[in-house]
Assembly symmetry: D2
Homo-oligomer: 406 residues x 4
């Protein structure tokens, strides 16, 4: 098991660096809005996590060679101390990319030494650190995309865009009976504290769509004046539409009457059969109201996912845009907004210590998303996994799966 | 029944005017923030509601003598049409108070004529209109208070402040067993659409405090550095504390080392035994975390309220500040924040037509509050009643009832 | 002389009250932007000026019956002490209009007693206080107009709109030879400190337009894409046009293809022959560039005014909108933007004491305007008078007089 | 002459690149506020200037190999076309540093070819372009400094900090008699349009300080509560002090009771004898009021400079911080705020064509600064040179020279 952990540690750490290989040095520092951290920051912060919570904690005479980093790369852990302002991460030309890669190598080596010792708590926290790094790998992609999107020359992160997928719509519904259902983590393998405690909920009969909403379906909503009809929107959503002048998903652009989509492959023609993505929770909700359906609750989604075959378009498929929309596949391609506010399960207690700031303190004003996306690693996603974003957020790979009462 | 409706109609309408009797003409127009409408606006808008949804709807050849009012006093009904900007209600010196009282009299008389005809739909909508006016009566008090609070001369709305109440703390917990519990309106009498459909939920064993948190208890939280310890706060709450420089409840003031509270009776000494009020949902949550408890869910609260005797300090007691804190009394004095996000019940459908904008479209980013306050009418409050505000809101009569797992 | 001062004191004080006679009580408290104070505040502040700088100063055992007013009605005199925030003047429903009128009467009576004593310094400061009140009378009109303009029902302050004036354009230029010219106050009668010291400047030959720019001329600028051509604008002006989406003067409205103007007489058809007004310094500058001319410097204007007959449409004509545009008349109707930044004359020293904050501290970022407007009293205006506003300001009665080199 | 122009062209162009030699690639893209452009942008924009105004204009069949650059690197020339938003220059990781250096080389080569042809208008515009590049060299230093200043690790641009200078204060005044004085460019050599036409002004007798205000003098102002006494400040200055919480010059930091200054040599101890720098026009004005003096007008400064020996600490001295404070030296070390608003000279006409946007359109809301700084090239500065910034601006090398009446 420790052997395997060590191997996975090496793999995850080196993947983070491989993902950066096609970047120019200049790209590593971009931060186009407070929410989208620079690639360099992600590389450093994930190392900071191992250094702070494991190396420092299990090595009483450890002295960091990277003293300023404690503040610079602390994301939001008040228990650890002061934090460099989130909105100013893009102003840090120093440490350089080279410095950060050296930092990574140093931390990786120290961790490998520590893992040799076989301490169980170290192993548990390393597991947490790897899942943490998986999350930042996903953010690396979505943040980079947003940061590139503000450049009028449309930089492409990769050039190996795949062929069009066969994504015909079946318009099928998957039906489920109501009654008591078990929710939360089942106890096998890793989970975050927010998936616990396992507990039961009461569901009513419901159906959930067999596929994600496609670009073509979403375009019908748009041409039916979806962005101009207040009755389709939550009040806060409508206010956001007016204030932000939203008229289409985040990265759509109309050029000479044709729709294009900015992707990590550059600006490409909109494929009507791909899943719609980069929409806010408000847009997801409005689309469903227009379609006379609704978003699923997080429990309905989890109930359906418990029966589904795990798979779908995840990071391992190596396509950095939602491409596939397979009937009956609950996982992958795009995170699915639910109607559930992100909150604690009955009896929830945050993990002890500073890592307890990981999840619990964000349980306000956000919605739960389920299922993983094209840049979520397969070893990181499961039926009980709860992602969370604010309803107006659009820069993640987010999509729509409809639900309805039976 | 129609006779009785007519009497209640007269009573509610005339109460709205009576509440204004101690105001100066200058007071009627104040709007100190977008959320707090002028007294004059409340008087007009509640009339607009009857005119728009009943008089116009059931009287095909009706021509309003108040043509501009359709836009001026439309709060947020997009189906009806354009709305004067909410933040600019305080800029309307015309129509004058006299004009608005004339408008009220005209609408009241027309409604009384219409009620004579005994139409059932008119009766149903009149019932809704009266509950609507009850809500605006409550807002009249809380908005006026906020608007007065920005005047350094501390205007007093009333001068008949009652004696101190006997509010000794019992520190008792009311315990409830888990299992299936019925939630939502039971079908008797009026309810809003958001209390339906009735449905069952699964609860776990829990306890709920027999009394509201007192000023004295809250002061202990403050002196224990409650506003300076991020670990006690939700992340969004902590950001708000920093940004708004919160250090105490909204209307508390320290003068020469002594605490005072601005109330509708003017600035008065803080009574440690009264319930704490004018706190945000973030402060309520942080207080509970400090006390090693938690806020109840809206369902736990409703479960407890179903067994409780209805009563408590409501509008009929005619004390315009939370004064009493009676053990075992679930209702009145101050609205109680729950940890539940305001959302639709399973199978929820908004009322048809424009009145469907009343509740459903606000089901995002808000928390449910339960129980009513010192300025909620007794005929308006019930166990299934769901009020809702944003977590940072503080200008309502809001308080804390703690809960815990068993 | 003291007799005459006393009479003028009575006259100016009572005029301030007469101007308010057509107002509703509700109108007195309006403040639609930080710059536009409520009518009630002007009535109180002008009294505060006499109380603070004269009654308190020359009456060592005076105790104000209006203690809170020292802070409430201090505009910007840091030497006196704290000030109620300017932007919140509209939130003061108390003191009421009745209270403020009582305050005025009290101060007026005390001043009349004091004037009896014949102290010269009292006389000097009373003179200053009367000119101060003249300025606030002018602001009363312009602030009220702006405050009314945000009400979609277009309240009219007065209903006695005069007939159209005969304002035919002569397109004449008044020419002046260059050389040394004396600027500043000539020493007779009252002046503000900013008009001193008298000094000489060197002028070049120039010409100044015999009339103000008319609405019709300005409309030509608009129809020639004046608001869409950046080359006509100062950079800061163009940024303001974009940011504020300016497309016409402040109070112009197009209804069914016809232009109207909101005035203190309500919304009235635009008369092409009246002087254009309520334009910013940026618009004045852009208009002149479009017309291949320029704004005069304040010294050119003063040079021309020294030779002109004093007169024009001033407050005494009792028309509360720029109505007349008489050839050769330098004064009245609308304040005329100059290209001169508001600064100190060579050797300038502010008045000693707190009244020294009157003018000098505003000598940054503002432009000088000259000539007086339809609501400037004739006893208040003179050739050396320097008014000053920020280039983007539009709510004063401001207009354009062109100049050019010879 | 063309030979000499060609040589100077080569020199200026290569200097811009040499100044960047100590930068990391990551440093080239920093933009910490809208006003401070990235180093990379300066390198590109100065090339864009030559390409746009000369190469494209004098080469009808020229096709740019850098098509997107027309928009990306247009600063503010509306006549040329659209501009990439100024505030987003730091978001352009592409084109890379390598791309921009290639762009520079291409433009430099094309310009050298063109200069061979000996066209006079090309020569005139090349001269303008070189002075333009001199200005951007200066901005390169001041922008880089600001951008580095937001990094808590205090990056040093250079490490060769010179010894302390001997800067003893003489407290001498240079006196000048009044009367007519000639202002503006004398016709020899290059000047900007804003230095013309030459004209006469009337001056009064005045004196100007022989040295710049030192850090030590400024510290006295601070310890005498300079930042806490409103009577010392212009009203807009005081509002800025409150709003921005200014308590000292921009780059001063107090560490354990000792004052330090962030410089391009990193964070270094404050030398009391060096000239104070990085202060706003408001601070300069307040300091003078505290010292019972005043700022000079731009004409007083120019009058004094006409008699002074040209020299002082300019770019050629290769010290990138104001270091010297030589008695009687009017030029160099730090730009000197004047009390003069930046405006047109009598009879001013902007240069024809798009380069006419260079100076004239900024003649609003700014103050004139005179004298050049430690990073102004000696071939770029002269007695008639007018620099201009907004009164609150602090990121330039700005300082104070006092003046007084005689």
């Amino acid at each position: 098991m420790n052997q395997s952990l060590e191997d996975r540690f090496k793999q995850v750490r080196s993947q983070s660096e491989q993902f950066c290989e096609s970047l120019e040095v200049e790209d590593f520092g971009l931060q186009a809005m407070p929410e989208t951290s620079p690639a360099k920051w992600h590389l450093a912060h994930t190392s900071w996590f191992f250094e702070t919570f494991i190396i420092k904690a299990f090595n009483s005479n450890y002295t960091s060679q990277w003293p300023g980093f404690e503040v610079l790369f602390n994301s939001y852990y008040n228990s650890i101390g002061e934090q460099h302002p989130r909105a100013e991460r893009g102003l840090l030309s120093r440490p350089t990319v080279r410095d950060v890669l050296n930092y990574r190598a140093d931390i990786t080596n120290r961790m490998l030494d520590l893992l040799q010792e076989g301490d169980e708590e170290v192993a548990r926290l390393t597991e947490l650190g790897l899942h943490h790094e998986r999350q930042h790998q996903e953010l690396f992609f979505t943040d980079l995309k947003y940061n590139f999107s503000r450049n009028p020359t449309w930089p492409a992160y990769r050039s190996d865009r795949p062929e069009s997928a066969d994504n015909s719509l079946t318009h099928e519904w998957l039906e489920y009976g109501g009654g008591e259902a078990s929710m939360g983590h089942n106890g096998e393998g890793f989970c975050f504290d927010n998936e616990t405690p396992g507990h039961k909920v009461l569901l009513q009969d419901f159906a959930i769509a067999s596929q994600l909403v496609s670009n073509g379906q979403y375009l019908q909503f748009m041409t039916d004046d979806g962005y101009r009809r207040p009755e389709l929107w939550l009040a806060d959503g409508w206010a956001t539409v007016q204030d932000q002048r939203w008229q289409h998903p985040l990265y759509w652009h109309q050029v000479d009457g044709e729709w294009f989509e900015f992707t990590l492959y550059g600006l490409i023609p909109l494929d009507l059969n791909r899943p719609v993505t980069h929409i806010s929770g408000y847009e997801a909700d409005a689309y469903c109201r227009w379609a006379d359906c609704r978003l699923p609750t997080e429990f309905e989604w989890e109930r359906a996912a418990q029966e589904a075959t795990f798979g779908g378009q995840l990071l391992e498929q190596d396509i950095v845009h939602p491409w596939h929309n397979t009937p009956g596949q609950l996982f992958g391609s795009a995170w699915q907004w639910t109607s559930s506010a992100y909150g604690p399960y009955p009896g929830f207690r945050a993990d002890p210590g500073a890592v307890g700031e990981y999840n619990g303190k964000f349980m306000a004003n956000q919605l739960v998303l389920r299922g993983g996306s094209c840049v979520s690693a397969g070893d990181h996603i499961r039926a009980s996994y709860r992602n969370f974003f604010y309803p107006p957020d659009r820069w993640q790979f987010t999509g729509i799966r409809m639900a309805k009462w039976l």
